[in-house]
Symmetry: D2
Subunit: 366 residues, 4 copies
């Protein structure tokens, strides 16, 4: 049986609904739409509450996938749209494809290749959001996605992207009708709690922490995962989970690694990651996924920042532009998937960075 091989297509978008690049790859045979596991989109809205570029992009992508592989198959594709291409960041799609390695010639590398796994968890009840049942549900989901990816050791997981639910007034009302209260009645706050609880679920699955007290969700930022990236969306009550790791069951030239930025100017961690990944030239970098946020302390290495006091511009927009510039300087491209909202995803003011690279040296199969 042929081994799986992961392909990652980074495709520019000229507008939120521009799927022409995806269609073009399908037409030329470079991308088999039936193998698409997940699509991440970096869109040019503000990345905040009234960012409609995410919905616009999702609609265009769904229409495109449905036309190519049918509505049912399309509905199985994990999609995460993240708004905000501040600074010189560039709108693009990341299409994760699971293909089959050619038989008879090993294209993988010593130490394995990039492995992909996805899963969708059960729907939560509103009263579970931001609480221990969500942490547990995500923990189990991450383990399931690892299994789907053929990864046994949590140390081989380098990034977990999750789309998680949020509370609406209607959902809060449903819980109340059952005589239950929700973790919060504030819908905006519920996004942070859901992102945070999901990140702690990742941390638990990967052995980064033990089972956390419920009271620490959203409050104790010393608890975090160095490999989680979570975003909340109104369109689901479960979780869509994508695991990126290394596995010797997979073949192909792609590899993934991760770094943890300790603060917003921690370039050293990323540079060390690039060394670990033995990048020949910057052109070997296929994709970068990172979380950025303004530190709650109001300082970066002792110097005051003004992101939290800027009433004209959301702190998340500031942070994406700034960390985006740092990363672009390091890897030499502006097509970077930098997103905000990093509760329990790295330490306060810092965040996880994953890098997917194409290794040059491919050994012939013995």
């Amino acid at each position: 049986m042929p081994a799986p091989i992961a392909r990652l297509h980074r495709i520019p978008a000229s507008s939120p609904d521009d799927v022409s690049g995806i269609i073009s790859l399908i037409r030329t045979g470079a991308l088999d739409p039936a193998g698409i596991l997940a699509v991440l989109g970096k869109t040019e809205g503000n990345g905040c509450v009234n960012d409609f570029t995410r919905g616009f992009a999702t609609r265009a992508l769904r229409d495109c996938l449905a036309a190519e592989i049918g509505s049912e198959a399309a509905s199985g594709v994990l999609t995460v749209m993240s708004g905000g291409t501040e600074g010189a960041l560039s709108p693009h799609w990341l299409v994760f494809e699971r293909a089959q390695a050619p038989v008879g010639g090993k294209v993988g590398l010593d130490g394995g290749s990039l492995a992909l796994g996805t899963t969708i968890t059960r729907d939560l009840m509103p009263e579970e959001i931001g609480r221990t049942p969500q942490v547990e549900t995500v923990r189990a989901g991450v383990l399931a996605a690892m299994e789907a990816a053929g990864i046994a050791d949590p140390a081989d997981v380098h990034f977990v992207q999750i789309k998680c639910p949020l509370l609406t007034s209607a959902r809060v009302g449903e819980a109340r009708a059952r005589g239950n209260s929700t973790a919060t009645a504030d819908t905006l706050k519920s996004m942070g709690l859901s992102r945070g609880a999901s990140a702690l679920g990742v941390a638990l699955a990967l052995g980064e922490i033990g089972p956390p007290d419920e009271a620490r969700i959203g409050t104790d930022m010393s608890l975090y995962s160095a490999r989680a990236s979570t975003s909340a969306g109104i369109e689901l009550m479960g979780h869509e989970i994508l695991v990126l790791g290394m596995s010797d069951r997979w073949e192909g030239p792609l590899a993934v690694g991760h770094a943890l930025m300790r603060d917003a100017i921690d370039s050293d961690s990323v540079r060390q990651l690039m060394e670990r990944l033995e990048i020949g030239t910057r052109a070997d970098v296929v994709a970068v996924l990172a979380k950025a946020e303004a530190s709650r302390t109001g300082h970066v290495r002792g110097s005051r920042h003004t992101m939290n006091e800027d009433s004209d511009l959301s702190a998340t927009r500031h942070a994406r532009a700034f960390v985006g510039g740092l990363l672009a300087g390091l890897v030499g491209t502006t097509e970077l998937f930098v997103s905000g909202g990093a509760e329990h995803q790295g330490p306060d003011g810092g965040g996880p960075v994953a890098m997917i690279v194409a290794r040059r040296t491919v050994f012939p199969r013995a």
Copy 2:
């Protein structure tokens, strides 16, 4: 006669009018107010038209200097306020002081030390702004400031900071009353023309270009200085010019160098500058002054950016945050003097970067 020595004090500001750090240095004797040649302030406004933090900072600074050294002496201090601490950039003052080196022990270095020179040019007539007379006036001014700094060779100049005039409706009217027309009647556009003509004056003085055709001012962006940083202010009709360079007539551990960023992600140029300056640790970096702007092409190394189409957020704010992040990752601090409006200051989308460092090894005087 003792040799001059340049001191540069980088002082955090907790608000636009916070001069307490400056006063504190004066009180402790670390800063002699009589020796202050220039003060640059990076303030936390939007850096655009309605940024009143610049005026607020100027008022506080002027009051402080007048109290310390009298109004007349204070009026001779060159002051440039630049708004915009996007991303994690941190509000701060840069106070340039000319002191006297201790007699009997050379504290300078082989290759000389940081040298400072300032000058103020004659007032322009409104009809001269953005035209050849402005280029010529600045050229002569830069040469005068070089002489004040004791720098003979233009190759030893690494940065020229200029505050230049702009047109108002009243000034346009004055010219008309004389039967003359101005380069533009659009006051906002006049800021760009004045910055551009001033930058070309620097380029001419430093031998980077020959005398430019007037028609190319503001239009032909292939003409530029790699060492100019200009900003327009309503409060003057002449130019305030600060030259930073290296001179063996000066002593002290400070040195200055410059790089030219070719585009918004050109970290290599800055890294090479740091190597040339033989920086031991990042703590040796005393100050960074840089210009940042969104490329007019709408692209950075082939990837689209969205800065020019963002109606919610000025492109200048995007660019400062992004380039600020890149520079902060390299030098390890967020107290960086990054400003926008880079007409004829480096190529489209790029810009000059000056770095002032404290050298460790100081040779004893023979």
Copy 3:
């Protein structure tokens, strides 16, 4: 033969792509989709360059209409999306339907009823945009739409809504390839020129002005139409024109009138319009369409405004919020179609206002 009757459905939208209200009216029989002539949408983006809510709304509306009446018929429906619901303005759709009056009972009124007419002009060449050929093309188009509406006298026309083309870099290039130049090479500026030339075409058709000198397009704001509302879109090279007027060939309780606001606080003109329309209660007001803009003088009745100097917030957003508040106070609802970009549409700082009302007294047919 039964007389035509105009229906106007004002439908709230809970998001840019929310067409559920339209579908609901179709399902209940209150709206016959085959009779839809035009749909105007007020969406919640910033109304400026990077407002993707317009495209998102258009996509959702087109999909909805295609599902109801087929793609071909749907393509004949005039659609104008206008972004910007600043202040308490409320996102909504205005669906204009041409139906047939019941036979045997006159439902119209003395003085006629609201009449609707639409037309689509020929495509312009890029070099015609913002110039006399565009003025002429729109003039002819308005006359054609009047004929379609059964309106002979220009005095019976109260509002003309137009979607007009703009220049892109590619279109400028096409003209150049033919050896021709365009009115401007600045794509943003081309929007204003196209809106302005279209408005002058309306003014010419309605006899408000004589044929204007080409040099006055975009420059001489003393030339204007008191009944034009134009917006530029990238998706067409011709013009989509909707004429609203009064005609005794039409029946039904709806009537339309217009006022000209002389400045941003000219409530008297609107109040007088309400008196002319003999509105019983505010509930009789079915729709309000208005243009709002910041005066170029920087003043309103002698007092300075700050809209043109606010680098954080587009002047068009300020103006829509402000005029929206004034109008909402008068008519008692926030579902108002207030849009910006008013070149040659009313005097500087002012703009046209159309009001469509449901008259109470309906006379029996003799």
Copy 4:
């Protein structure tokens, strides 16, 4: 003994620090600086956290007053700076002066004249902010200011402007050091609680409510004053209180009245106020002071607004522009003191409006 007479000077400002209009009135003798009780400034910043136009204006005003009447007298003048001139609102000063009526001729009116009273309360401890002691302190302060104004009946009070304190991290720490907790540790939230508690103090003093449960402060918006306008500032720990009312102990042509807007489009209440005040022409309106805010329900009279979801633009800016437009349409000027942050100041989404008018008919003293 001559009776007091209130003068109110409305003076345009060309920038936040433009006090030239005030100085000019003093020079011409129209304003006696020794009689200044309070100065309100409407400045052109964003009115939010990083609005430095308030501090800039305060510094310029303080310098001006100190030069005119000395630092000590200047420190007794109540000053309230309110940022935000959205839409066409116009930056201006309102200078309240207490003068002496000419002896021998009654210039007052039947029903009394505008009366002014100010007071400054004791400093609060941080742990008192947003709690019952603050409500009580303000209640007592309002009564003291009424007495200073010579107003006995709370029904004669039409507006109470208050500047109140807020919490900083340092102040929260002080309370903790005493073993006490503060109402909140969130400094932004403390501003709302302080404004709210101050407004309830006004309501209590004026008999609009009975003593409120502490738990209802900041939560139960059905409790409110129809005559309070409060704003929080970092520079004080007490309260500066200005009472505006009617008293027959005062003379002069000025009168004040108030309306309560029930929602953001409640123009009827304001129109009825204008009728009650028997305004001859709009030119009789000397000043309008109003509070505006976005309703928490997200609706205005059943229609959705988008102010609370707009991440690009603070809801307070939207609300000021919108209500400003409504009021400007009614009174015919854009120099209106509209401010935001209306906790317990009118019902959710509505707010108090005070109008000061110059009555035409002045009776001769008997």
